[in-house]
Amino acid sequence: MNSGIPLQFFIVLATLMFFIGIYGFLTRRNLITILMSVELILNSVNINFLAFNRYLFPGELEGHFFSLFVIAIAASEAAVAIAIIINIYRRFTTVNVEDVDKMKF
């Protein structure tokens, strides 16, 4: 296999990145930093897909295309999320999740 690195290394790295993203998602209070944590999570999933594709099924391209689509969806998600964040900022002049509670009953 390529350069002799075991598959487990890649998956453990992706796991660490995923859970660091979850940590940021739970502790952050700013909408933009929450969006950054989501990007970390999506990236770790991509690493998983590509490592599995290269090591376990090198003759197929499923993981490659799946991560291509994940990247496209992440891009559109970021665009829509930032549009929403800017709209929220315009209306409430804050992007702190605890201060945006207009729709709470």
Partner: protein, 173 residues
């Protein structure tokens, strides 16, 4: 090489979620994304590494930095997370991480003896447009519609003074 990239990814991910200055967090995220692109190069997926660098590092990070500059003061520092919250979140997260890592290390992955397929632009293009076996024309079309819809949605949402906004202003008065 893998050790360097892994160290960069882990260290800068932690800094991304703990940094108290939001612009620094965005720059650390950029480092993480570039190092991930390096991992794709190591796995011999050159096309995807280029997409990662162009789209994530070039597009999304610039978008995030722009919105940071639009929504927060440059010298603003977050107040630190309360110790109770950070300790309990760290406990829950590390429990999940340890469980997953133990499961991964105890599982033996059966390597497949297939011949590695060359991933060049030719293969990628014909696979994306093929509707036969292992063709991806349907997800390709779906993703193109999704991108169009996301673009329209972003413009409509961020546009100033739509009918919804006027209505809310009227009810506020």
């Amino acid at each position: 090489m893998f050790a360097i990239l892994a160290a960069v990814i882990v260290i800068f991910s932690v800094l991304t979620v703990t940094s108290r200055r939001i612009l620094r967090a965005a720059v650390f995220l950029l480092f993480v994304l570039v190092a991930t692109g390096g991992l794709y190069f190591m796995l011999n997926y050159q096309f995807l590494a280029a997409v990662q660098l162009a789209l994530y590092a070039g597009g999304i990070v610039v978008l995030i930095i722009f919105s940071v500059l639009l929504t927060s003061h440059i010298a603003h520092k977050f107040e630190p997370v309360g110790w109770k919250k950070s300790v309990f979140t760290a406990l829950a997260v590390s429990a999940g991480a340890i469980l997953t890592i133990v499961t991964i290390l105890n599982y033996t992955f059966a390597a497949n003896a297939q011949v590695a397929q060359e991933v060049d632009m030719n293969v990628i293009g014909s696979k994306l447009l093929s509707y036969g076996h292992n063709g991806y024309v349907l997800p390709f079309e779906v993703i193109s519609v999704l991108l169009l819809a996301a673009m329209v949605a972003a413009i409509v949402i961020a546009k100033k003074g739509g009918p919804a906004e006027v209505k809310i202003k009227e009810t506020n008065q």
